[in-house]
Amino acid sequence: MSYLIRNVSVLGGAPVDLVVRDGVIVDSADGTEEVMDGTGLIALPGLVDLHTHLREPGREDAETVLTGSRAAALGGYTAVCAMANTNPVADTAGVVEQVWRLGREAGLVDVQPIGAVTVGLGGEKLAELGAMADSAAAVRIFSDDGMCVHDPRLMRRALEYVKAFDGVIAQHAEEPRLTQGAQMHEGDVSARLGLTGWPSVAEEAIIARDVLLAAHTGARLHVCHVSTAGSVEVIRQAKARGVRVTAEVTPHHLLLTDEAVGGSIEGTAPYDPVFKVNPPLRTAEDVEALRSGLVDGTIDVVATDHAPHAAQDKECEWAYARPGMLGLETALPIVLHTVGDALGWDGIADRMSRTPARIAGLDEHGHTPVPGSPATFTLIDPQARFTVDPAALASLSANTPYAGMELPGKVVATFLRGKRTALDGKAAA
């Protein structure tokens, strides 16, 4: 299939015609089969998510590789990195290849598996990192996300070991002894609600330790879902010293605060587990620091931490609810809403496509859609606003905190190597 997209603005530039043929963008529109009107639309390189939970294998009632791929395509993504905390854990070549193949079969986004750092996420023994790197899935990112690699010796060895194949360790920074029983951010709201606090220092202490280990080993460290102002400062200092560290922030940490747990958002009640996430929602000061850190480049990328959960895992007491919220279909609108003006279209392309593609080693992604580049891009209507309806999302789960919220910017279409994977709210398969 070939397409002519008329009058589309690439990264906010002057309107041009984009021609898609044989998986790439070409100059000549001769013989194109379908013409789309791109007037008023923005073309961005296809979004790349460094942090997605697809739940398959193990919790196919919450999400599958196929349904998560649909959600990703509808959100403007062309590649997602699937976290390793599945059941069984993605800690062997067999499991990562299974996820990778399921992604290929779905054919909507490139599903790049992340391998576990330790066997069973147990934090005691290194997983077969090399075997996963050598597998068909060619794993480059390793993470025990959901758990922190908190043993400093093991973390050091992991950082050293993956240097052999230019791997990166993506750390869920949480000192477990400081977060025992923690339910939300430690502060005024947790005091009021009687929920055990997750102190900011539990994240900051691990990041501080890890950047020192990264400096010592010369290895690549990636910090998952940074959530505190102190963490931004630690990363800023590390980068200034030349440490090979990158970091991500989630859309929800750019928008929501711990006050939401107390029922501050209209239409919500206190203790609604839809706001339970790990790391927890922090304070307004943290949100401000995260936005500034993203804009000035201290934080490299926006990653969704898309975490689908079945209804029964959220419709319960706060303490028993699983942490996490959906993210793929709302990430770009939240970014536009929170830092869109400050970043501009090129900045958004950088934080949501180019840089995550570079960190993950996904060479076919992150290219500005111009002649000669892969036809892997997304079309956005920046003027459109839409109201989030959990029932209308493609994910198998409905745990979005944005239900009923009106957000700016709508993904009109997504293309992956010339295949249109989403159009007007419908995925291609």
């Binding site: 339910q183 005091a191 929920l195 206190p270 419709e315 319960c316 007491e317 706060w318 303490a319």
Partner: protein
């Protein structure tokens, strides 16, 4: 009238005083030969207890029965809950059985809030995790009013494991509403600075002895010995020395000041036996007042709306 009683913050001064006034009337029932009123005849009150608490459950049960309600005690132990039934499913079951009020005790903070989404009847929080225990605050303030003649203007010291105490939270909120001045006292590990934001006028002190001479009420909190293992304080002995209420400290309190404790007590850990048993202790009164206050709450939430 409020539909649910989830937090002491749900109560304004007028409502809390109304509950106290009704409790005073209800207290007279206990002195009668037939300790029963027909007020809630035909109404069903479910005691849904996910935690063992003979004291609170019995208090609610006696209160409901004195108002002639039908009482169902639903204990999580040995029930479908142990087989994995969710709170939502349990709520639907209670709803199907026609529960007009559910009194819930639950180890998870906020569970009563969640329950209100799934039942039509009134929900009374009988203690949720480390969050709140509003009827305890009502009975405590009722006890203060009975002993001191008023609540407004009192200096109340709440002493001990504030961090994990639902009683402390509820009392701090209600005492503020009723015009008392509250000071939270304990080691910094158990009285974090964030607690100072619970109400505008809340004081925090780590020096019990400096607070004592100005206190009209000293409310001691239970200190669990396992907190010691979690390094909240070094030893029971050190805790008792710095924050325990012994006879010497009792003597430094003003003559009119009273000693309260929500129970159960750890004698020799947070309170000396002779202090607990002294005439200035209101501990037994608090238990008796609990029934009257809970009768008043049930009456207002159920009878008041019929």
């Amino acid at each position: 009238m409020i539909k649910h009683l989830l937090s002491a913050a749900d109560l304004d001064a007028v409502t809390a005083t109304q509950i106290h006034d009704i409790a005073a009337e209800m207290a007279t029932v206990a002195g009668r030969e037939v300790k029963k009123l027909p007020t809630l005849r035909g109404r069903t009150v479910v005691n849904l207890f996910y935690e063992d608490s003979t004291r609170t459950r019995t208090s609610f049960e006696v209160a409901a029965k004195r108002l002639s309600a039908d009482v169902v005690n639903f204990s999580a132990k040995g029930s479908s809950v142990e087989k994995g039934e969710s709170l939502k499913d349990t709520a639907w079951t209670l709803q199907a059985m026609g529960a007009d009020a559910v009194v819930i005790r639950h180890p998870a903070s906020g569970a009563p809030h969640r329950l209100t989404h799934w039942v039509h009847g009134s929900v009374l929080n009988a203690g949720d995790g480390t969050h709140e225990h509003p009827t305890q605050a009502l009975l405590d303030t009722y006890t203060m009013r009975s002993r001191m003649g008023k609540v407004e203007g009192l200096n109340v010291a709440i002493v001990g494991d504030v961090l994990h105490s639902r009683v402390a939270r509820s009392n701090a909120l209600l005492l503020h509403t009723l015009g008392a001045k509250v000071t939270l006292v304990g080691p910094p590990t158990l009285v974090p600075p964030a607690f100072g934001s619970l109400t505008p006028s809340l004081g925090v002190s780590y020096d019990f002895d400096s607070v004592l001479p100005h206190a009209d009420v000293v409310m001691m909190l239970r200190v669990q010995k396992e907190r010691m293992n979690a390094a909240f304080f070094p030893s029971s002995q050190e805790y008792y020395k710095r924050y325990g209420l012994d006879s010497a400290r009792l003597r430094r309190m003003p003559d009119h000041a009273i000693v309260m404790h929500p129970g159960p007590m750890n004698r020799g850990v947070e309170i000396a036996p002779e202090v607990a048993d002294s005439p200035r202790s209101t501990i037994v009164e608090q238990v008796a007042n609990g029934v009257s206050v809970r009768m008043a709450c049930l009456y207002l939430l159920l009878g008041g709306r019929s």
